[in-house]
């Protein structure tokens, strides 16, 4: 899919051509662009490089929120409580704080004005906006639940992405913003685990995260570099998409020097263990991950542990089976009582001597909602100790 919203070149590509008047307009535009094309050619665009000269929208907004939008939202009482002058939240019409207001995401609509320069934020403003969101909203203690923090930051980051796309931002500026955005979404996928669906939908977070990741990898591939964080993100991408042949093949095709960096090597080893159906090795290797990497792996923990219980149910299946619970707990990276709880969720019997009685006929999928990942992801949370969210997302831990 072409990320840039370019107008279709020829009408033959659209199955329904517009009627009469508009078409004339479009033909006239094509004429115009043809003459522009001639200008480019005369300026020396040679060979295949006869690029259509599209006008890239200019940006001129110097603030996190364009002045016009701030005025509008203020008068319509549509400011977020993170954006108002502190102390005015309870007013009938709170005042917008220009140092805290951030441009919101708005769905691109047909017929809407092509972006005015005063509405488009400059690249350095975009980075400043992202840093503000991380430092002051994500990373600051707040009386509000983190789900609200997430919603606000999710939306405002989406608007930053929009501004980036419209002005065709690429290169180092783009990468700096994308890297922080990816870290935020990966952290969120762990932090909000277990929240009710109506407040946080992991699939929506996933969809956006995949887009950001894919764009980031494109930047690494086509940009001049150097990109010192690339190894970190290639590893995160692989861990997050564990089991995906496409993601694994992508990493295998990276240059050797990248593949041999410690993060990527570890991620590949974990990926190999996953594809080989070796959960013991996988969970053992996972001990070596840092906090954010563990967040990326987090959503696959359920699958890994399920696979462990499944193959052990088959492999140890016998009437006299007495497998020590403690050992199983260690293998699953869980405390013994939690390991017992996990067994019970899958129908695996634990007797009163704390021994697991594996049986291939007993293993069953847990009842809907019975298995709460949140209870069992201590392996991730213990790595968070002592870390500030701010530094995790900026990447300076």
């Amino acid at each position: 899919m072409n990320r840039w919203t370019t107008a279709r070149i020829t009408q033959t590509q659209s199955s329904s051509a517009p009627s009469g008047g508009q078409r004339t307009q479009r033909n006239k535009e094509r004429c115009r662009s043809n003459t522009q094309k001639k200008e480019v050619e005369e300026e020396g665009g040679q060979g295949f490089g006869k690029e259509r000269k599209e006008t890239v929208p200019r940006a001129s907004c110097q603030t996190m929120c364009p002045a016009q939008e701030l005025r509008e939202r203020e008068s319509q009482n549509r400011l977020h409580h993170f954006e108002v002058v502190p102390g005015t939240e309870a007013f009938r019409k709170p005042s917008g704080d220009p140092l805290r207001a951030v441009k919101e995401y708005s769905r691109p609509a047909a017929g809407k004005d092509a972006a005015k320069p005063s509405d488009l934020r400059l690249p350095d403003v975009l980075l400043r906006t992202v840093c503000y969101l991380i430092d002051e909203i994500v990373g600051s203690p707040s009386p509000h639940p983190w789900t609200e923090v997430y919603s606000f930051v999710f939306d405002r980051l989406r608007s930053v992405k929009q501004d980036m796309i419209i002005q065709r931002l690429s290169g180092k500026d783009c990468v700096a913003i994308l890297e922080r955005t990816v870290r935020f979404h990966i952290y969120a996928s762990y932090r909000l685990c277990g929240e009710p669906l109506r407040i946080y939908d992991p699939r929506i977070n996933d969809t956006h995260l995949q887009e950001y990741l894919s764009w980031l990898f494109d930047c690494y591939k086509t940009g001049a570099g150097p990109y010192p964080n690339q190894e970190e993100f290639q590893a995160l991408g692989l861990l997050y998409n564990l089991g995906s042949s496409a993601a694994t093949q992508h990493v295998l095709e990276l240059p050797v020097r990248l593949r041999q960096t410690p993060s990527v090597k570890l991620a590949l080893a974990i990926s190999q263990a996953f594809l080989a159906g070796n959960p013991v090795r996988l969970l053992r290797l996972a001990q070596k991950l840092d906090f954010l990497q563990a967040c990326a792996l987090h959503r696959h923990l359920v699958t890994c542990r399920r696979h462990l219980l499944l193959i052990y149910s088959h492999g140890f299946s016998s009437r006299n089976c007495r497998f020590p619970l403690d050992r199983l707990a260690r293998l699953s990276s869980l405390e013994a009582p939690l390991a017992a709880g996990l067994c019970r969720a899958y129908g695996v019997e634990v007797n009163q001597h704390n021994q697991v009685v594996f049986s291939k006929s007993a293993f069953a999928e847990p009842a809907q909602g019975r298995l709460e990942c949140k209870l069992y992801h201590g392996i991730v949370s213990e790595k968070e100790r002592g870390l500030a969210v701010k530094s995790i997302i900026h990447g300076c831990s």
């Binding site: 072409n2 020829t10 033959t12 051509a17 159906g277 090795r281 052990y312 140890f316 089976c321 050992r327």
Partner: protein, 373 residues
């Protein structure tokens, strides 16, 4: 272009003429252009309409054109033109990609995706041809176009887009009647897709067909098919002969084959590492990694054959693995490996933790690979 009205079409020509847009006008008068598929341009007497909108001599010219391609509506001899043009399109898109890459411009895959969009519209025109009889149907173009599209989708790594094409052809009654060459290419790509989806039995059928029916003079193509057929067959327990590998210059597989059949994990790791670049480029590295499970199975079977008992101490397997220089493996992992093999059906038996032994069935504890999975 496939649904504009006759008035719109004529207006477009008129404007193109007025604005001196020669190439656009030429497209509108070309047989290769999709507008020829538009049923709304099929008029019995186009002259009157043309005279209303166009100036002479263009009115006569366009009327003649309209009459001419009308006669194609239930014919398909233009398919060959389409084949040539779409093939060229794909090749140009490839070249365009390479050039853009060299300059570091554009998104990777952009040119090929655009080409694919065009090909897809042609495919839809062919697939929806329900009017003509079998001999004249445009459906005969479907397999060629699918093959072109497969080539693009594999290149830009968007294999999921192959699915609708496969479904369309599978449900077509012509699927066995296309030319042998087209069928071989088709089954090659669908076989590769099945491999990607881990459906190895299906992959083996398709790729075997492709290999057997590929003309013996096309050594290069046969070799390409073999690159994908070999790993699949090995996973199902059928090892290639050295003769075959030498004949098709695929000796990279020789060490892999030897390692797997002997249960030699050390040699397997070395072979995979040595030819890593080749295997990764062909996209079979991940599948060959799956052979590790088969290799473990073969190694453990050797242990069983050596000890000649059906109660095997776990330590024996640990020793065997350490001999193969498998790194940092302990009893826990041995248990896990064995449990996985039992779960997959490669070993019939169970592990006794108390006695630290693998107890195998007295009958056929290591079923033949072809009967498993």
């Amino acid at each position: 272009m496939a649904h504009i009205t006759i008035n719109q079409y004529l207006q477009q020509i008129n404007e193109a003429i007025e604005n001196h847009e020669g190439s656009f006008c030429a497209e509108l008068l070309s047989f290769k252009h999709p507008h020829v598929a538009n049923p709304r341009l099929q008029l019995a007497s186009p002259e009157e309409k043309c005279q209303q909108i166009l100036e002479p001599p263009y009115d006569e010219m366009v009327a003649a054109h309209l009459r001419a391609f009308q006669s194609h509506k239930e014919e398909n001899w233009a398919l060959h033109i389409m084949f040539a043009v779409t093939l060229d399109l794909r090749i140009f898109a490839n070249n365009a990609e390479q050039q853009l890459q060299k300059k570091g411009k554009g998104q990777p895959g952009e040119m090929l995706e655009k080409a694919a969009e065009q090909l897809m519209s042609c495919f839809r025109v062919c697939a929806s041809d329900n009017r003509a009889g079998v001999d004249d149907s445009k459906k005969w173009g479907m397999m060629f176009l699918s093959n072109q599209l497969f080539k693009i989708y594999f290149k830009i790594n968007k294999l999921h887009l192959c699915k609708p094409l496969i479904r369309a052809i599978d449900s077509s009654n012509l699927k066995n009647d296309y030319s042998p060459a087209q069928k071989v290419t088709y089954k090659y790509y669908v076989g590769r897709k099945a491999m990607f989806d881990s459906d190895f039995k299906t992959a083996e059928e398709l790729l075997s067909y492709a290999f057997d029916h590929c003309h013996r003079s096309c050594q290069k193509n046969k070799r390409m098919i073999l690159i994908y057929l070999l790993p699949v067959k090995m996973l199902l327990g059928h090892m290639p002969t050295h003769l075959l590998l030498r004949k098709y210059d695929l000796t990279q597989f020789a060490d892999v084959t030897k390692a797997v059949s002997e249960g030699n994990l050390l040699l397997l790791n070395e072979a995979l590492s040595k030819h890593e670049t080749f295997f990764i480029r062909c996209g079979i590295f991940l599948i060959l990694e799956k052979l590790k499970i088969i290799t473990y199975r073969n190694l453990f079977k050797k242990v069983y054959l050596l000890l000649k008992t059906h109660q095997l101490p776990l330590d024996a397997f640990l020793v065997a693995l350490r001999m193969m220089q498998v790194e940092d493996v302990d009893i826990d992992e041995v248990q896990c490996l064995l449990a996985n093999l039992i779960y997959m059906g490669h070993i019939k038996g169970y592990i006794s933790h108390q006695h630290q032994k693998l107890v195998v069935s007295k009958q056929n504890p290591f079923p033949p690979l072809s009967s498993v999975s």
